[in-house]
């Protein structure tokens, strides 16, 4: 049986790991390659690197981080942040990423999803979505790190990206992100019930039971967390052994 995936995410700026809380107030901690190796040892099923560097020079340093990690860590690497063109996707995959995560740019230019899927295969195109609740059972899609409301209905967007050939969705709840009060079950359920591709739950994990809850109550096939793992509040191992005790299949 397919195991539920536990995915630690590392935000990287200028080659260093950082963690934003509600996308603000960033702290600078740690070497990303070492962090990735540690997560690998803990049993992480995948590792996500998110580049929040704005400069061209920073991009080169970031891709070096991906390249070094791919020589030492033999689980899938997903790389997001700053990917705007097919050439960016190619460059990122060549650096050793197995998947790219596109977010704002996919909203601005949905054709990027189709082109990426056609050239490199759906399996390596993960579409990241930041969404926020506006009414009962209604959410809209945001871009630029959750700062700009695009006024696009979340479920419409999910249908569209699936048709464009996205291989996976990483769904981040702006409402839940940074709160540590658990994943956004209602929103995740709505998305999982409306698509047929894997969905990664993101935003809100604060305690061990949140992981079990998201797998028991929604169709999410993976759960992602950053600060929880980064600040060693929980290890991937602890989360997995807890899930296993709850009869959730994990590796």
């Amino acid at each position: 049986m397919l195991a539920k995936r536990i995915i630690p995410c590392l935000d990287v700026r200028n080659g260093k790991v950082v963690k934003g809380v509600n996308f603000e107030g960033i702290r600078d901690v740690g070497d990303p390659v070492e962090c990735a190796e540690e997560y690998n040892r803990q049993g992480a099923d995948e590792i996500v690197f998110y580049d929040i560097t704005a400069s061209f020079e920073g991009r080169g340093v970031f891709l070096d981080v991906v390249r070094e990690t791919a020589k030492k860590v033999f689980v899938p690497l997903t790389v997001g942040g700053g990917i705007k063109t097919v050439d960016d996707i190619r460059e990122t995959l060549r650096a050793g990423a197995d998947k790219v995560s596109v977010n704002s740019q996919a909203v601005k230019n949905p054709q990027l999803i189709r082109d990426g899927a056609d050239i490199f295969g759906s399996q390596c195109i993960c579409v990241g979505i930041d969404a926020k609740k506006i009414a009962d059972h209604k959410w809209t899609v945001y871009i630029n790190g959750g700062r700009v409301d695009m006024g696009i209905d979340l479920i419409d967007w999910v249908h569209q990206i699936e048709q464009l050939g996205a291989g996976e969705i990483c769904l981040n709840s702006i409402d839940a992100d940074g709160t540590k009060e658990g994943f956004d079950i209602e929103m995740l359920k709505a998305v999982c019930d409306n698509c047929n591709i894997p969905v990664i739950a993101s935003g809100g994990a604060g305690k061990i039971n949140d992981f079990a809850e998201v797998f028991e109550k929604t169709g999410a096939t993976a759960a992602l967390a950053a600060s929880l793992f980064h600040f060693k509040e929980l290890t991937v191992q602890e989360v997995k052994s807890y899930c296993r005790d709850r009869n959730i299949t994990v590796r």
Binding site: F74, S122, Q123
Partner: protein, 200 residues
């Protein structure tokens, strides 16, 4: 020396990184003589069946691979595994390498999330040397939307995903195929690649 066929498809560097890590001598190549002189061959592949077969054909390697796979250890990975079979049906009917009898079709079971993406458990059907030293609770990483249909006696291990999905196939001689990515399957995958290197 293991020749990793570089015909322009997929993330071949992952395979190279894993072999380097294991200290297995390897070369990325699209050159016929290098493939002929190698002690073993790995055919990686990500993307679509017809375009990958076409790219292989354009590299002029199709016949060389068919011939060499009868003489030395050969491992197809993911799409490279699917190409081992006689026919693929991704978008259109397309001839494969025909090294093992069978075909490749879309996974179409309803309610199934596609692609089959993530870690799934290997269920051993017919033990083979690539599984040496592995236990009975081994997970490996899959990402694919098409699956092989072939005879049980060519299946070394399968996994459960809307029915049996051939995970590791073996023709009983030199030809092996892994639907999963051993180069992305942690310690288990590295062990499988090490076992492959041990066949030389």
């Amino acid at each position: 020396m293991i020749a990793i066929i570089d015909y322009g498809a997929g993330n071949i560097f992952s395979v190279k990184n894993a072999l380097d890590y294991l200290g297995l001598e390897n070369i990325l190549t699209a050159d016929k003589d290098s493939v002929k002189n190698a002690d073993a061959i790995i055919l990686p592949g990500v993307g679509a069946f017809p375009s990958a077969m076409k790219m292989l054909e354009n590299s002029g390697l199709t016949e060389t691979i068919k011939e060499e796979a009868t003489k030395k250890p050969f491992l197809g990975i993911c799409l490279g595994m699917q190409m081992i079979f006689e026919k693929g049906y991704e978008f259109e009917e397309c001839d494969g390498l025909g090294l093992i009898k069978g075909s490749v079709r879309k996974m179409e079971e309803t309610e199934l999330i596609i692609p089959h993406m993530g870690w799934n458990k290997l269920e051993v059907l017919n033990n083979c040397k690539l599984l040496d030293g592995l236990g009975d609770n081994e997970y490996v990483y899959f990402v694919h939307s098409y699956k092989a249909e072939c005879a049980d006696n060519d299946i070394s291990a399968y996994c459960e995903y809307g029915g049996r999905v051939p995970a590791l196939v073996h023709d009983g001689k030199y030809v092996y195929g892994a639907q999963f990515h051993p180069e992305k399957s942690g310690e288990t995958g590295l062990k499988i690649l090490k076992n492959f290197g041990g066949l030389i």
